[in-house]
């Protein structure tokens, strides 16, 4: 198999640096990311503004770090939520089978066919814009890869001798799930979660790009990109920087996720029945 521990190690370090910078940003004594300074629009990078300013004269560096805190934390929470929901559904489908399994498989087909952004639009319209709707939208559209993986793996394990033995000696279904199935799933699921984090980060950006995500003056990387786009020629950094940030983080977690997956010895997840972050 692929052996690229060096690249993976580099990816881990880059990720650690970015996460640390974003997390510790409030203690760096940076400018208020939300404060417009209409006299300082489109400033070039300078000692005062390391990455220049945007179209309202706001400091691009503070906005990048502040927006990153939002993008990364939403993507992280969404990863956990979709992981929990998806795994629960997947294990349930595999253990129960029958109409439960059929129901979730068809739901998966419907979600596969409908654009993520249309479902998100509906949820945001119904629940109002904000963090809660954003998370709800990401969870509703994002649980399927976990469910498919958990379902396949549960089937594989269920066929093995020790589970049959456990049932024969009278272990409760809950005991079997928590004691035997979930521990076996954890490796591949963590690999999957790492890969999904990158895709969810891109999805968070996409929702904000379409105006369904964060509300001003709060910003995230997708919203920064959308706001900077018309001014690309006057303030190129403002559009380059948030795009690069999403790209680098997504690339790092993809490299790490692939490595975890390889170590967990499961190749099935390179081909999940889902269409990732395609809006």
């Amino acid at each position: 198999m692929l052996k690229r521990p060096l690249a993976t190690r580099a990816a881990v370090w880059v990720l650690v640096v970015i996460v640390a910078a974003v997390a510790l940003a409030p203690w760096f004594g940076l400018r208020d990311p939300a404060e417009p300074n209409l006299g300082m629009r489109f400033s070039s990078p300078s000692p005062a503004f390391w990455l220049g300013t945007d179209h309202l004269g706001r400091d691009t560096l503070s906005r990048l770090l502040d927006g990153g805190r939002f993008s990364l934390s939403i993507a992280a929470v969404a990863t956990v939520l979709t992981g929990l929901v998806g795994t629960a559904i997947g294990v349930l489908s595999a253990r129960r089978g029958g109409w439960v399994d059929e129901f979730f498989t068809r739901t998966n087909d419907v979600l596969l066919a409908l654009p993520e952004m249309v479902i998100a639009l509906f949820i945001v319209a119904a629940a109002g814009p904000g963090t809660h709707s954003l998370l709800l939208a990401l969870t509703v559209t994002g649980w399927t890869p976990f469910a498919r993986l958990a379902r396949t793996l549960t089937y594989e394990i269920s066929g093995q001798g020790f589970l049959k033995a456990a049932r024969v000696v009278g272990c409760s279904p809950q005991f079997i799930i928590f004691r035997h199935i979930l521990p076996h799933l954890s490796g591949p699921l963590i690999g999957q979660a790492t890969l999904r984090f990158g895709q969810l980060l891109i999805s968070v950006g996409a929702l904000s790009y379409l105006g369904l995500g964060v509300q001003p003056p709060q910003s995230d990387w997708g919203a920064m990109l959308a706001a900077a786009q018309p001014h690309a020629e006057r303030a190129p950094l403002a559009i380059l920087v948030p795009g690069l940030a999403i790209f680098i983080v997504a690339l790092c977690v993809t490299l790490i996720g692939q490595r975890i997956t390889e170590l967990a010895g499961n190749r099935a997840i390179t081909a999940p029945r889902t269409k990732e972050a395609h809006a």
Binding site: P129, P216, P230
Partner: protein
């Protein structure tokens, strides 16, 4: 007459600008003055026809700007008055009737002749629409009839000096009888204008060919394509790349890029649109005039106009733009004064508890930024604000029900006719149907009632000015900036005259030089 002081700003002859542009493409400047009769041009419009060409809907604007649909009268922005179009003459024959004389020798594009009967039938179908047009509906017009071969009589329920203005509205466009079948409208080949629509790609484009028999003279273009591009940044990019020749309604954010492009002329005109911070006068703390004044004093309108609006907007002096004939001449835009604002706040007895919410309408890309700036300004006087961006249609019921704090929206005062009476009545009288501010003042209502009956334009404008002063004195809303209509045109397009309301774009005179 109307808009006297606007004439210079509203007209822009691109052919002149082309001479001054020393473009990167050397060829463009030398041939700029010879129109090529074989040219076709592309116009990027900002909306797509949603309603299958129903004339009472906004689809009428697209037919009009495409040079297909024509009306009995036209409102000439440059001269500031109603001019002839399909009607050559009109007069009020009695307090309740107006007679319009139909132009001779006009043929519809299908070859049938424009008669008084055809005009009356056309107008009657607009009156009968399920959701009638604002300019021309049963409340303001009771009957349309042909009295002889060349005369159409319009009957009104009350004395109505504004009928010629109403018949300039694109919703009153005239189509051939064959256009109206089975309750649907088919404009193809049924207009009178310089361009005949030949094909349509739904939600994408409308293709038109020259009308060889146009009554208004030889059409200078072989044809045109009107594309429906809802994204403003894309319209700006397309005129820059030459994919479109004329791009309508350019967002302010793209302005500086286009102004730096030698192949593109940016046209700006005063528009009757004002970006407004609406306040819910019926709800605390906005029920106190001191509080509303404090909000107004805290904002810096001039820097808003210069930054987010890139200088393509003027700080608003009140509900009207300073250039309008009914604006009171002495008013100036309110200046930011934080100390004054704080004093007013304490006079209003305000203490910051719950943050107030500003809803920014997403249809205007810049409102999110405007809200962010307002939020910072208000933070300086200790008024905490949260911002929410929403589709207009989804908040409208809340606005009408008085279930909001502040909303950033944009209002066109002269949406159908060149007189603000409809706007002043609907938006600010106690019983107004569109009174988002929930403002109610007996003196104001009296003034408007009186104005509606005043035939003399000058007298009427004075009453409007007084009404406007009441609104500004009461700080009903904060009128932020008067927006400008911005279009961008390739420099090889000639004889294009900008219309701030985008009703007239493709005309018989529009031409393009050979390449």
């Amino acid at each position: 007459m109307f808009f006297k002081r606007r004439s210079a700003a509203a007209v822009a002859l691109v052919s002149l600008l082309a001479l001054t542009g020393c473009g990167l493409n050397g060829g463009a400047t030398t041939s700029a003055l010879t129109p090529d009769l074989n040219q076709r041009i592309v116009v990027d419009n900002f909306r797509a026809p949603v309603a299958n060409w129903a004339l009472e809907s906004d689809a009428a604007y697209i037919l009009s700007l495409s040079g297909c649909l024509e009306t009995l009268t036209k409102f000439d922005q440059a001269q500031g008055k109603v001019t002839s179009s399909l009607a050559t003459d009109w007069k009020q024959t009695s307090p309740l009737t107006w007679d319009f004389t139909i132009r001779d020798g006009v043929k519809f594009q299908d070859g049938t002749i424009l008669t008084a009967d055809a005009v009356a039938a056309s107008l009657q179908s607009v009156l009968a629409a399920k959701v009638p047009a604002r300019a021309f509906n049963p409340d303001v017009v009771s009957d349309v009839a042909a009295v002889d071969a060349r005369t159409v009589r319009i009957t009104t329920p009350s004395d109505s000096p504004l009928i010629p203005y109403r018949l300039a509205s694109v919703n009153t466009g005239i189509l051939a009888p064959a256009a109206y079948k089975d309750g649907t409208i088919d404009p193809f080949g049924h207009c009178t204008g310089p361009f005949t629509p030949v094909s349509e790609k739904p939600k994408q484009s409308l293709t038109l060919d020259r009308n060889e028999n146009y009554w208004g003279g030889k059409v200078q273009l072989a044809g045109a394509e009107v594309r429906f591009i809802t994204n403003g940044a894309t319209r700006a990019t397309q005129v820059q790349t030459g994919e479109s020749d004329i791009s309508l309604s350019i967002p302010v954010a793209s302005l500086s890029t286009l102004e730096g492009d030698n192949n593109v002329s940016v046209l700006k005109a005063d528009s009757p649109r004002t970006a407004t911070l609406y306040m819910n006068n019926g709800k605390a703390p906005f029920d106190k005039v001191e509080f509303r004044k404090a909000i107004r004093s805290a904002l810096d309108l001039e820097s808003l106009a210069n930054s987010i609006y890139e200088g393509a907007a003027l700080p608003a002096v009140g509900p009207f733009a300073a250039s309008e004939p009914w604006a009171s001449p002495e008013t100036a835009a309110p200046k930011q004064n934080l100390n004054e604002a704080k004093k007013l706040l304490s006079a209003a007895g305000y203490t910051a508890t719950q943050p107030l919410k500003i809803v920014a309408i997403v249809e205007r890309a810049e409102f999110g930024d405007v809200a962010a700036v307002i939020q910072q300004d208000l933070a300086k006087i200790g008024v905490p604000i949260t911002i929410e961006t929403k589709e207009y249609a989804s908040v409208e019921p809340d606005l009408l029900a008085g279930n909001y704090d502040m909303v950033l929206s944009q209002r066109n005062r002269l949406i159908d006719i060149a007189d603000p009476i409809g706007f002043l009545t609907a938006d600010y009288t106690c019983k107004g149907s569109y009174n988002l501010s929930h403002f109610c003042d007996a003196d104001y209502d009296k003034l408007i009632e009186q104005a509606a009956k005043t035939t003399d334009a000058k007298e009427r404008y004075k009453l409007y000015a007084n009404a406007g002063r009441i609104l500004q004195d009461q700080a009903v809303n904060v009128w932020l900036v008067n927006e400008q209509a911005i279009d961008a045109v390739r420099t090889d397009v000639q004889n294009h005259v900008q219309d701030p309301l985008s009703r007239y774009v493709l005309t018989a005179k529009t031409s393009k030089s050979g390449s």
